[in-house]
């Protein structure tokens, strides 16, 4: 190890130091946790800024365990943004639920560190420890509201399925190590290419795919998702739906492109089949939900389906990485719109802690009660549907056209059809907000907290800016893959 090795992990070092600081400071804070919120937020912003500042560097560190390149930086910035937006929407929510503790922010920072490691790793062992760091932090965040049964249930279900998923992934990794005697992505990939595709490689591919499928909630491994999202504190559910999911895709992209290059015919078919199934399950179950938080959970499964179609296309398109780029773009767009939608839920819950149950009926008349919240929610719903002018539209446009480019036009048609179906349950929320009268009158509302308002505003700005000026995000996504095959 040399000091040079530390440069690629400066963003993570900042986060780790901040998380430790939060833990040390926490016991000395009585009721007011503002100091810890400030530490966490500053660290996330600093890590994002430093990551941007590192752009243009290409460096491998820690004996090729992790690399610093545009790809890693893209995700580091994305994760820092998702983390910062989550931190901003959390304090008021946690205060309202009577459990505002600094550990929350420390766990969130550790989860972001794990996600960063996943995106930057070039070694199966580094990838796995990153995954575990993220996962263990996530289980605890899901169960953060210790005295609420639903939160306990969420943590328990997340932990059990997550532990199984980790074990399955690890089994696949161990098979790969057994066959090649290496853990470095490039080494393993080259070694497997030399020995050729076989049933054993297919088995290892499938095991890693299933394990990671659990993590990013691919149907039929999605069962935990609605319960966990519903039970977890709303800001945490917001974070789960974008952070660990994007991290899972960042690692899957790299692992399947490099390690399992030889079995790309196998995994592209698997991804296409799972994509169709996931789109179906996500959209079909979202249609029947009367609870908006649960509906968003199923909608996140549907979005994973679209992304899987992109992964399937990627396996088909050989050295053309346009599908990979559009996945990155879609993840960025999705981060803002989904964080925004969950942010609105968190806001409404802090307004009516006793009566708001996330049900559709609770949204009736929201357009009159709090027009701003209703308008923003409408924007996020439009974006999730994929209406032109929003980030969701551009994301779907790029993603589906990359699927068409890979000669999978029929798959793109299926995806578009499912998107059309999704319009029903997204727009239903808007109908309730603006065209339905509430059954009961709600009490006067409290003022929104500053950070939460900022979080919602930034998400909305992100959705609109990416929707109208997608070029800069697309540039970043394209340069992420840079000279991948070069």
């Amino acid at each position: 190890m040399t000091t040079q090795d530390l440069i690629p992990i400066i963003p993570e070092l900042i986060l780790v130091l901040a998380a430790c600081l939060v833990l040390v400071v926490e016991p000395f804070l009585k009721v007011d946790k503002t100091a810890n919120v400030a530490i966490a937020l500053t660290a996330l912003l600093a890590s994002g800024v430093v990551a941007v500042g590192l752009a243009g560097r290409e460096q491998a560190a820690f004996t090729n365990m992790i690399v610093l390149n545009e790809y890693a930086i893209f995700f580091k910035v994305l994760f820092a943004a998702a983390g910062a937006l989550t931190v901003m929407m959390s304090p008021r929510y946690l205060e309202a639920s009577g459990r505002h503790m600094g550990e929350y922010y420390a766990l969130l920072l550790f989860a972001v560190v794990g996600m960063d490691v996943m995106a930057a790793s070039r070694d199966l062992i580094a990838f796995y420890v990153g995954l575990e760091l993220m996962a263990v932090s996530s289980y605890l965040l899901a169960g953060f509201l210790r005295y609420q049964v639903r939160s306990n249930e969420a943590a328990m279900k997340y932990f059990l399925t997550g532990a199984f998923a980790s074990a399955i992934t690890l089994y696949g990794i161990s098979l790969v190590y057994g066959m090649t005697g290496a853990t470095n992505y490039e080494q393993v990939g080259a070694s497997l290419l030399a020995s050729g595709d076989s049933l054993a490689v297919g088995l290892a591919t499938a095991l890693v795919l299933v394990g990671m499928g659990f993590k990013v909630s691919v149907a039929p491994f999605h069962m935990w998702t609605p319960d966990v999202y519903q039970g977890a504190p709303t800001p945490v559910a917001a974070f789960f739906s974008v952070g660990p999911k994007a991290a899972g895709f960042s690692a899957m992209l790299m692992v399947f492109l490099t390690v399992f290059e030889v079995s790309s015919p196998t995994w592209s078919v698997l991804f296409i089949v799972l994509a169709i199934l996931t789109m179906f399950v996500g959209n079909a179950f979202a249609l029947t939900q009367k609870n908006v938080k649960r509906m968003l959970a199923y909608s996140s499964i549907a979005h994973v389906g679209y992304l899987l179609a992109g992964l399937g296309a990627l396996g088909r398109s050989g050295t053309d990485l346009v599908a990979g780029e559009s996945i990155l773009f879609y993840l960025a767009a999705y981060t803002f719109m989904n964080l925004g939608a969950f942010g609105i839920l968190a806001y409404l819950k802090t307004q009516q802690p006793a009566t708001f149950k996330y049900s559709l009926a609770d949204f009736a008349g929201l357009g009159r009660r709090s027009p701003w919240a209703a308008v923003l929610m409408g924007l996020f719903m439009f974006s999730l549907t994929g209406m032109p002018g929003t980030a969701g539209f551009v994301g779907k446009l790029y993603l589906f056209s990359s699927v068409v480019k890979a000669d999978l036009a029929w798959l793109a048609v299926i995806a578009v059809l499912f998107s059309a179906v999704s319009a029903y349950y997204y727009l239903r929320v808007i109908v309730y907000m603006f065209f339905r009268e509430p059954e009961v009158e709600y009490a006067t509302k409290e003022p929104i907290s500053g950070p939460l308002a900022a979080s919602l505003a930034l998400s909305a700005v992100g959705v609109v800016v990416i929707g109208l000026l997608p070029a800069w995000v697309l540039d970043a996504a394209q340069s992420s893959f840079g000279n991948f095959f070069g």
Partner: protein, 122 residues
């Protein structure tokens, strides 16, 4: 000359045999030598002379569990120290720094647990 594999089996066999003999012998000797009493009250658990009441297996305070978890975590930390200690001569100062970094991170946790009052027993 005894071949290494026969040697191995002799060693293991001897170990098992001695272990078994000692265990069985201790129990048997105690059984023979100890004074026995036929009174059924002898078999009852001792509760300061009062007749035992209820189940002996009472639910435990969750605090015990917490201490056990902390023990496991620090035990795992100690596990990493064995290979470190063996190869420290080769690793040199860098190895020392690396291990101290590892311990420092766990020290943060220790400090946190201490200040949270987890180690105190009311």
């Amino acid at each position: 000359m005894i071949s290494p594999s026969v040697d191995l089996i002799v060693q293991f066999g001897l170990m098992f045999a001695i272990g078994a003999i000692v265990a069985v012998a201790l129990i048997t000797i105690a059984h023979i030598l100890a004074p026995t009493s036929k009174n059924p009250n002898k078999g009852l658990p001792y509760e300061c002379g009062v007749l035992p009441d209820g189940d002996a297996r009472l639910p435990y305070n969750v605090h015990f569990y917490l201490v056990a978890v902390l023990f496991v975590l620090f035990d795992l930390e100690a596990v990493f120290m064995y290979p470190w200690a063996v190869s420290l001569a080769k690793l040199g100062t860098v190895g020392l720094i690396e291990m101290f970094l590892f311990i420092f991170i766990l020290l943060v946790g220790y400090f946190y647990a201490w200040k949270k009052g987890v180690l105190e027993w009311e």
